[in-house]
Symmetry: C2
């Protein structure tokens, strides 16, 4: 059986060189409409299709307008195919309106053999069994379909509350249905939890840009996540996001520039 993620990011090559896809209602964000990270994974699938390298190393999306359910067309350009890395660009459109513009550079992670040094540590969390499903603790999840696809579990002590003043949250995250372990869903997972800025009382945010570094192949379904906001000014803020597998390896690191509405 095909995993919903693979079903819903499947692309079809068109005669005009572009790719067709369908944004389904299974990855709906808070506020409705397909999650930006899901839309990015669809564009990434189309870019991946035109390069020989096996791994996305870094992918960037600029979000132009909210995506909608239904048909999408992805225009892809190969910018450069080199021996070690390749770069492609994509614009995903719906009814001829551009939704996101993306760039991705691909390579083979196992071909990189340089040094190691870690000046950070994975989140220290109780076992997922001892954590709470975020959906059951957050009434805002009602009808948000991304919560049916992506499971977040938070330590009981860290339950989001109105008293939280530090916009940083650590939790477990995984696709609810187990899937082959690879890099492809990571750009969705870094965008799939409630935004950390909501700890400051905001009801949501609007992402302008998201860049994801894919750093290692995950060795586990459960990934430990850390989301942090450090600079909110004039509504603009960054959300930094880390994903670590159970072996303690950083598998993805992302940052997005997002906007919260004026109070």
């Amino acid at each position: 059986m095909v995993h919903p993620f693979d079903d819903d990011t499947a692309i079809t090559a068109l005669d005009n060189g572009a790719h067709a896809a369908t944004l389904t209602d299974r990855w709906g964000r808070l506020g409705g409409g397909p999650l930006g990270g899901y839309t990015l994974c669809v564009a990434l699938a189309a870019m991946h299709h035109v390069v020989p390298q096996p791994d996305p190393l870094v992918v960037t999306a600029h979000f132009l307008r909210p995506g909608r359910l239904g048909a999408a067309e992805i225009a892809v350009d190969v910018v450069r195919i080199g021996r070690r890395t390749a770069t492609a660009s994509a614009v995903l459109s719906q009814t001829h309106e551009p939704i996101i513009a993306a760039l991705a550079t691909f390579g083979e992670l196992s071909a990189f053999t340089g040094g190691h040094a870690l000046f950070n540590a994975p989140p220290q969390l109780p076992s997922p069994d001892d954590c709470l499903d975020w959906r059951t603790t957050d009434e805002r999840s009602d009808g948000v379909t991304i919560r049916d696809r992506v499971e977040c579990r938070i330590p009981p002590a860290a339950e989001p509350s109105a008293t939280a003043t530090q916009p940083r949250q650590e939790f477990w995250i995984r696709l609810r249905e187990p899937r082959t372990l690879d890099l492809r869903p990571l750009p969705l997972l870094v965008d799939a939890a409630p935004p950390a800025v909501m700890l400051l009382g905001y009801s949501g945010d609007l992402t302008l840009e998201l860049t994801v570094h894919l750093r290692a192949h995950p060795s586990s379904q459960w990934l430990a996540a850390r989301a942090t906001v450090r600079h909110l000014a004039n509504g603009l803020h960054e959300e930094d996001f880390e994903l670590w597998d159970i072996a303690g390896t950083l598998v993805a690191q992302s940052r997005q520039l997002a906007l919260v509405p004026a109070a």
Copy 2:
């Protein structure tokens, strides 16, 4: 008199819709050739030319191969021009070989009026007058022309040394020749200091991708910089970079994915 930054990032519209520029020898990086952040500023100038909004808000570059001195051509596409923001893409090429692919989203910073909250602080540095010109303390600067254009001053106590184990450095940075205060040179400045990974003994690095968030118009020539590396694995690492003006406002925040060679 035109500032060297403006002279050297000037673009000329060509009949074919592209823009022409010249990469000069005044912004040479460690190892030779034009600095990636300088090349990005040239591409940004071309993207800025095709949108009505005054401020770049976020710009991303994927670096495909090292740039060279001399003529460059920038192919620019307007992805979307909206009321509040606009997005453009660019590929800068030399002799028909792509050097960088870029995306930029523009807007008007003063139009954003949402909330404020800061969970970080600017670097606490002695006055620039009490700091040391990095060029005079680092013999690797010889012949590196970016050092003639961009001045870095480090606190005497923080002089880079072989005993430094934490790849984090804080210092002052500015264009040596005073220039109108605006956002345009910030993508160059975030890339203009010696890479923080050199504190771990590496002789340099190769940038795969750089994303810069432009957060506020700087109120001073001197900017306080903080560069940090937290995750080096298989030679791949991120460098996070912050620029703060003397009023204590974060004016730019960047992250790059870079590679150091195998030992």
